[in-house]
């Protein structure tokens, strides 16, 4: 529940961004993001809100953990970290 999940901003309308999470597109609110965001940026989503813009040079390093979790656990119920990541994606609407 404290683990946010990174995604790539596709487009922005007012305070809502369409964000791509490994092919799943969701709306994420930008009300409380720490700095201005433009399409192409990566953000950290937590319960449907962007809480951090990820600096471009940190994107690859940030994605690595998540990609490993999702790769190794494609839908099982026995990996709490992977469950948390999927719940975070579900939290965006």
């Amino acid at each position: 529940m404290c683990l946010g999940v990174p995604g790539r901003v596709i487009s922005i309308h007012d305070y809502t961004a369409v964000v791509d999470f490994w092919g799943v597109r969701k709306d994420v609110r930008l009300d409380i993001v720490d700095e201005p965001v433009v399409p192409g940026d990566y953000i950290l989503n937590h319960v449907g809100f962007a809480i951090r813009r990820i600096a471009p040079e940190s994107v690859a390093e940030t994605l690595e953990l998540y990609e490993m979790l999702l790769r190794e656990n494609a839908g099982g119920e026995d990996d709490l970290m992977a469950l948390d990541v999927r719940a975070e994606i579900a939290g965006a609407s």
């Binding site: 609110r29 449907g48 809480i51 951090r52 940030t62 709490l80 970290m81 609407s93």
Partner: protein, 372 residues
Amino acid sequence: MTNELQFRDPALARSLAATLARLVDEIGRPVAVMHVCGSHEQAIARFGLRSLFPKALDVIMGPGCPVCVTDVPEVDEGVVLARQGVRIVTFGDMLRVPGTVQSLADAQASGANIEVIYSPRQAIEIARETDEEVVLFATGFETTAVATAAVILDNPPKNFSVLSAHKYIPPVMEIVAEMPGSRVEGFLAAGHAAAITGSAVFEPFVERHQVPVVVAGFEPMDILAGLVELLELIRNKTPRVANMFPRCVSAEGNIPAQKQLWRVFKPVGGKWRGIAHVPNGNLRLRDEFAHVDARKRFTIDLPSLWDYAPPALAGQCICGDIMAGIRNPRDCRLFNRECVPENPVGACMVSNEGTCKIWHLYGGVPDLEATA
């Protein structure tokens, strides 16, 4: 799973582990440090990191599970509201957390209207589609409280209100540091909570208690590197705040989120389940948001619940000691016997961020020597 030590860079992992061993040797006594984040415990357990730690290093999970520290009367408030016919929406982890008599899942089984959400925004969507009163039973640390604040400030529908059980992490670290007999010599602070508060929020704590705080991320390497930094600060007797997760955390934190958080919430003292009364540890709605405060909006008749005796096993539960870092799940006579995720006795076995649930799922203590 715990034996699969899969690291991006196994050589670096071994080198960090060797550094940890050398540092503990140099310190010359057993060292205990505490992290305060369920996601850290998940990563430590999932990646089998404890098998890399030197024997004399104890890495303890403190009160880092917001669901676990939600106090019994707070659960009772949700249960009573649900039984009074209000629609309760909450995060899935909350459903089985024991109240005095019933959990929300028990109330749901006896007909109460309770729905699971993944985001406070979904609570708003549910409220928009109905005329019924919808109450967001809001739990989580500051990372999640900022989202609740944002929906409250975004003109929610009239039938929407919030029962806040949000908690604020920095004050509980004071409590743990001051516990008599505490062995904790340093803290690992959680990366994504610190993304909100900033690392500088821990400066006064370090000043007061003269123990180091290191902000760390969630990758195995992040955690190992954070522990190396923490042990160096302990060895050198130079307590300070170190930010080992700069790709996510700044000194000042997320200012727009903090503004919304403190505009909506005020810190008040309250009990954390199994821990203690934590001054300023609970986040409650400010008076100007009384119209969305479920505690102001409804008469919550708690005594109506208390004609019953609490379940007998609850008295044997040691969740409180576990979250305070005094004991671990293997010290509990209920762990993996009467107390399992399907039928939890204590809150630590309920939440995916609870120490007992994590140890249950990833196979207890992933100590390769102990399990060989």
